[in-house]
């Protein structure tokens, strides 16, 4: 299995690695090495949900976890390792916790690596080395002695800066072309020269290479009084309403920081239920979290935590999708028993906001900037729920495949969370989906109609999916037209396990004499026009 983003492999399973697939390959290259490769689209929200169990398990032993991205956990070891009796004992304990949390999934993701070192980057490199050692039969942890991190990193490849440090590949490529062969060579450069030549990104890379990245350069402790808390009057069970409040808090935080010319690089999100269950996560992003990025992280956290928090129409679909995926791995977990009464957003580190440079070579363009400003203005004009963007969710009916989500709750800069899975990935899960072309007009509410056969009798479909006659006339909204061509019934039965949402419909395509093509459904012996191929 391999995960693709923008046609490049961003992650792959051990089996894929064994077949010669590497991170950075293009789809075709990867498939040529391994024709049976199972390709899935990059979807951070899914990863966050899948990683949730691991976080929970480790959080039981260690406070203040920091989640850089799904798959990587960082925490300060000084306290915990004293408690567990040394770094090695701590590593062994954490490894057991993670492995038991992963359960059967462990075989697919490969061994767990744990690295302990000064600084995030050195620890990340150590963890990757540990992972390789574990694959070769090692004990799964690498502990770099205190103050030895710079020496540990010196012989390392610059490639680590991309994979672990998140440095732009272009910048690393430039380092290499300038003759810097390893991290030691980069660390040996005077920092003032690096700053003058490469600016802030260069300094970040330099600090990583020199194992001095305890905190990202330029960050400070947040000013006092920046904690934003919302106490709910009544316990809230709906994910969407929680996220809306989260959005409000994130906006307050972002604007309070913006007033001081700062941006949040690390934030702590806490939610607590009526029964005292709590979730506390730390989210960081070295380039700064915009309000939209904060909201997405709040959503990931609450979505992963609260399988028990069910939603309405929109939220239900989210919980549904999560449940469906969890079901595959057998890790559906309901660990929330009551409504949420408190939501808290707090910055842990901030830095000066240098603004975003508009990209000349792709990335963010002027058009993106204008459109996002206009979207913000529209939200102000007509309110949150009226300004929407499409998000893929999958389904069998034309109105199920995409749903509309509030534009202010999604990060317009980063549409990966909303995009449909690429071709090849989407073929499996929706048998019964009508083939393309899709109807351009999907009625917001279905229009009742009547369909009769040549003898004027109502056309019905039996429990076995057999039609009582051939549609000959369609009567709808005062019009009475002859049916020129038709096909169906295509019967689909959905959610038969859920009495409340069970749906059994027979679908027809009807083409009338005047050339209008409709998608009609027959549900409980009543006809509805649901869409027109306009």
């Amino acid at each position: 299995m391999a995960v693709l983003h923008a046609n490049r492999v961003v992650a792959c399973s051990r089996a894929a690695v064994a077949a010669g697939v590497r991170v950075g390959h293009r789809r075709r290259e990867a498939q040529s090495r391994c024709p049976a490769l199972d390709v899935v689209a990059h979807e951070p929200a899914r990863d966050a949900r899948a990683f949730h169990d691991v976080i929970e398990a480790v959080a039981a032993a260690v406070p203040r976890l920091e989640l850089t991205e799904p798959g990587v956990l960082t925490f300060a070891t000084r306290g915990p390792s004293r408690y567990f009796g040394g770094d090695a004992a701590l590593a062994a304990h954490v490894r057991t916790l993670v492995e038991s949390a992963l359960g059967t999934a462990l075989r697919a993701v490969g061994p767990v690596g744990i690295g302990i070192a000064d600084g995030r980057f050195a620890a990340g490199v150590a963890a990757h080395r540990a992972m390789r050692q574990a694959a070769a039969g090692g004990d799964g942890w690498v502990i770099v002695p205190a103050a030895g991190s710079a020496t540990f990193l010196a012989r390392g490849s610059l490639q680590w800066l991309i994979h672990v440090g998140g440095v732009e590949p272009d910048l690393v490529g430039l380092f290499r072309r300038l003759g810097l062969r390893d991290l030691g060579a980069l660390a040996a450069l005077p920092i003032t020269d690096v700053l003058a030549r490469f600016g802030q990104p260069g300094v970040i890379a330099h600090q990583m290479a020199a194992a001095g990245d305890d905190r990202p350069p330029g960050t400070q402790d947040p000013p006092e009084g920046m904690v934003f808390v919302h106490h709910f009057d009544a316990p809230v069970h709906h994910l969407e309403s929680l996220v809306f409040v989260g959005k409000h808090l994130a906006d307050q935080l972002a604007s309070a920081l913006a007033a001081q010319g700062r941006v949040c690089t690390q934030m702590l999100v806490t939610a607590e239920t009526e029964h005292g269950e709590r979730t506390e996560r730390c989210w960081s992003r070295s380039t700064g979290l915009s309000a939209a990025a904060m909201v997405e992280r709040i959503r990931w956290q609450l979505d992963g935590w609260g399988q028990g928090i069910t939603g309405d129409a929109g939220g239900g679909a989210v919980a549904d999708a999560a449940g469906g995926e969890g079901g595959e791995d057998g890790v559906v977990q309901v660990d929330v028993t009551a409504g949420v009464i408190q939501l808290r957003v707090e910055p842990l580190a901030v830095r000066a906001d240098e603004g975003v440079q508009l990209g000349l070579w792709g990335g963010r363009t002027q058009a993106d900037e204008w459109a996002q400003r206009a979207t913000a203005r529209l939200v102000g004009l007509v309110g949150d729920p009226q300004v929407v963007v499409p998000a893929w969710q999958g389904g069998r009916h034309p109105d199920d495949v995409y749903r509309w989500v509030s534009a202010s709750l999604s990060d317009l800069d980063d549409p990966t969370g909303r995009a449909a899975p690429g071709p090849g990935a989407a073929t499996g899960p929706w048998p019964g989906l009508l083939p393309a072309p899709s109807p351009a007009a999907v009625y917001p509410s279905a229009v009742e109609a009547s369909v009769v056969d040549a003898d004027g009798r109502h056309v019905g479909v039996s429990g076995r999916g057999v039609a009582s006659g051939a549609p000959a006339r369609l009567r709808c909204a005062g019009r009475d037209e002859e049916v020129a061509a038709w096909a169906g019934p295509w019967v689909v039965e959905e959610r038969w396990w859920d009495a409340g949402r069970h749906r059994r419909v027979a679908r027809y395509q009807l083409l009338t004499q005047s050339g209008r093509a409709y998608l009609a459904v027959l549900e409980r012996q009543r006809w509805w026009l649901v869409a027109e191929y306009a």
Binding site: G173, Q366, P390, A419, A440, Y443, Q509, A517
Partner: protein, 247 residues
């Protein structure tokens, strides 16, 4: 931009073999920054015969006929593929999948819809359209009949100033249209209880005061493979399908 920063953003020969393709793909995106200076919006290649110059900026375009909605989506698709954003207002029935099939880049689509039971007033529509035209290159609008003449005039003068394209689906109401696109469609693939809708032949005619001379053409929109292309003379659809002449 200094040469140093170009050097580190532009991949050299060695590490990135498909740099040329990537640059070619980026070229239209770079253009969008300066599109205001150009006077036309690119259209889908299949529409090259009916709109050889593209859509004039600042124009109000109306689509009508059986394929009015998908026609408007197809007109917006050219700019969308080139990196422009598409605003959709007053089209609550928009089929998102059909929009994607017509070629709209869904990650750059933002829709505004009325509150259920509380339709926007004439004044709100005016403000919504104003905001949309400020930020989006193409705006698909489906509620033209609910806008009064004065508001329509204000919206259109803003449109001319900003250089966006307003695509009106169906009745134009009080808007005066610069380009009229009429569609007639014939579906194929559906039989008497068998087959399914597979291909649609759309006869497009384009006229209007900002069009030099009226033109007509026929498109497969879509053809049996889901692509949008011109109906070439003499060649019918690629796969044998049951024909049914209607409409």
């Amino acid at each position: 931009m200094t040469s140093a920063s170009v050097a580190h953003t532009l991949p050299r020969r060695g590490p990135d073999p498909d740099a040329r393709d990537r640059l070619a793909a980026l070229a239209p995106r770079i253009d969008t920054g300066s599109l205001a200076a150009e006077r036309v919006v690119a259209v889908h290649p299949a529409l090259a015969t009916v709109l050889p110059q593209g859509l004039p900026r600042g124009a109000t375009v109306r689509t009508s006929g059986r394929a009015a909605l998908s026609g408007a989506l197809l007109l917006a698709a050219g700019a969308s593929q080139a990196g422009a954003w598409t605003g959709v207002a007053g089209v609550p029935e928009l089929g998102v999948q059909a929009a994607a099939e017509a070629g709209l880049a869904l990650e750059r689509v933002v829709a505004v819809r009325d509150r259920a039971g509380a339709a926007f007033s004439d004044d709100t529509w005016g403000q919504v359209l104003g905001a949309l035209l400020d930020g989006f290159d193409t705006v698909v609008f489906g509620a033209a009949t609910r806008v009064r003449a004065g508001t329509a005039r204000r919206v259109q003068s803003r449109l001319a100033h900003r250089g966006a394209v307003l695509l009106i689906v169906g009745a134009a109401g009080a808007f005066s249209c610069d380009v009229e696109v009429d569609t007639r469609s014939t579906w194929e693939g559906l039989g008497d209880g068998h087959g399914h809708l597979r291909a649609r032949r759309v006869d497009v005619s384009v006229a209007g005061r900002r069009i030099r001379r009226p033109r007509q053409d026929s498109l497969w929109f879509p053809d049996a493979e889901g692509a949008v292309r011109r109906v070439e003379d003499g060649s019918a659809n690629v796969t044998p399908l049951t024909w049914r002449q209607t409409g």
